[in-house]
Amino acid sequence: MTTPVGVLALQGAFARHIAVLEELGVEAVEVRRPEHLDDVGALVMPGGESTTMSMLLESSGLFDAIEARLDAAMPVFGTCAGLILLASDIADGRPDQRSFAALDISVRRNAYGRQVDSFETDLAVDVIGGMFPAVFIRAPGIEQVGADVDVLASVDGRPVLCRRDHVLAASFHPELSADGRLHRYFIDQVATGVS
């Protein structure tokens, strides 16, 4: 794709996503205001604190702008907090926490425990042809997936990487691994046809 990929840059690990995309030769731009969405063909929503991001999405006017683009099938890749923002149902969230409901999954925040329980693991991801070094930080757990959602990877039977059409979401942080294959998959396989 030739249009830039936007990276939601309100808070969290957005700079790491931009670095991975640029390493792959993909132009990546920060999205901080609604007008920053105008020129992007796809969006990455990074890890960070989902409660903070939800508040800043509202105050910046980005919530409605992103929602409109998602309704128009903009490809999106959400990681950790980004996955929470895409989920149709959030358990243990704040009552006022909004999400885009772009992916029919139920997630529980901090499902893997506190920071002392955060972990690295080798993950079998068939769509990228092998193992991926995945980093889980106070990660959300995917508790249920809708019938039309593909589970692309699991840890101990629990889904951690899901896709439906143009929406890709991970419980973990591919931007922290020195491995661009999941970003490559997003660009080449999920965001194809975007011009």
């Binding site: 309100l10 969290g12 890890g47 243990d92 506190r114 980093v135």
Partner: protein, 295 residues
């Protein structure tokens, strides 16, 4: 590592949480009610402590780790990460905080030091540590001991941003200078900074600190937070500045907005309006400098 085998406490996992806090505000809180106010305002984490630094200054005496019961209460009140402070060198306080499941331990000069020569061996822990630094040498010594996040110390409890600016400029200024140095000069840099050569060489190669650099100590207004961010901090700690102000909730929210939109003066002007009085603050002339604690 075989498939699905979990490795906890790795450097990547420990530094990774600091990556997730970037662009955010970590707020000092002394009870569950304040923790809720902080979370509602958009804090990325809270620092649980018994007294904010401004009160520690007034009260005097020995400042120690908080009561575990008080930390439990704050952990139960919020879903965002909870940090807590241990005294410099007091590795048993750190062991207790790890057992409580705090998400980050701050080995902090705001508390009374427990060891006049040694900091905690932070590699020995699964929980990650943040440490303060006034200059790059101090930052690199803390990183060599296992710190996964550095915060410029500033001067906690003063509401006076001048020390935070001094420390941030010193750390970032030396990082820039090392980026310009040739390989032979790096040995002298290591000697001058009293820091391990490999870390100095890493900075020369990458142009950044090996761990995230946050700013703390004396920030009281949205403009202060944006100043720290424009100077190169990656996130901010605000202690007494929020709950020692007239109206904490709107000030907390405004500081969150200012930290995200640190380069946008129009937004800074908007969020700085009508916040009531900030904490009074104090000058530096006769002030006990917490920042001088740490070796």
């Amino acid at each position: 590592m075989s498939e699905n085998e979990r490795q906890t406490g790795s450097t990547l996992v420990k530094r990774g949480l600091a990556e997730m806090l970037k662009g955010g505000v970590i707020m000092d809180v002394v009870n569950p009610e304040q923790a809720k106010v902080a979370e509602d305002a958009g804090a990325v984490a809270v620092m649980a402590l018994e007294r904010v630094p401004a009160d520690i200054r007034v009260d005097g005496g020995i400042a120690r780790m908080s009561d575990p019961e008080m930390i439990d209460g704050i952990q139960a009140a919020v879903t965002i990460p909870v940090m807590a402070k241990a005294r410099i060198g007091h590795f048993v306080e750190a062991q207790i905080l790890e057992a409580l499941g705090v998400d980050y331990v701050d080995e902090s000069e705001v508390l009374s030091p427990a060891d006049e020569a040694h900091h905690i061996d932070k590699w020995a822990f699964t929980v990650p540590f943040v440490c303060g630094a006034t200059n790059l040498g101090e930052a690199l010594r803390r990183i060599s001991e296992g710190a996964c996040m550095i915060r410029s110390k500033g001067e906690a409890g003063t509401g006076n941003v001048i020390e935070a600016v001094r420390h941030l400029r010193s750390i970032i200024g030396d990082i820039k200078k090392i980026g310009q140095a040739d390989s032979a000069e790096l040995f002298d840099w290591a000697k001058q900074l009293q820091a391990p050569l490999p870390l100095v060489q890493e900075i020369a190669e990458t142009g950044t600190l090996p761990v995230p650099l946050f700013c703390a100590g004396g920030l009281a207004t949205p403009a202060d937070a944006a100043l720290a961010m424009q100077l190169g901090a990656e996130a901010v700690f605000v202690g007494s500045g929020i709950f020692k102000s007239d109206d904490p909730a709107p000030r907390a929210k405004a500081i969150v907005e200012a930290t995200t939109n640190f380069a946008d003066a129009d937004i800074l002007a908007k969020v700085s309006r009508g916040l009531g009085a900030p904490m009074t603050g104090i000058g530096m002339d006769d002030t006990l400098k917490f920042a001088e604690r740490g070796w």
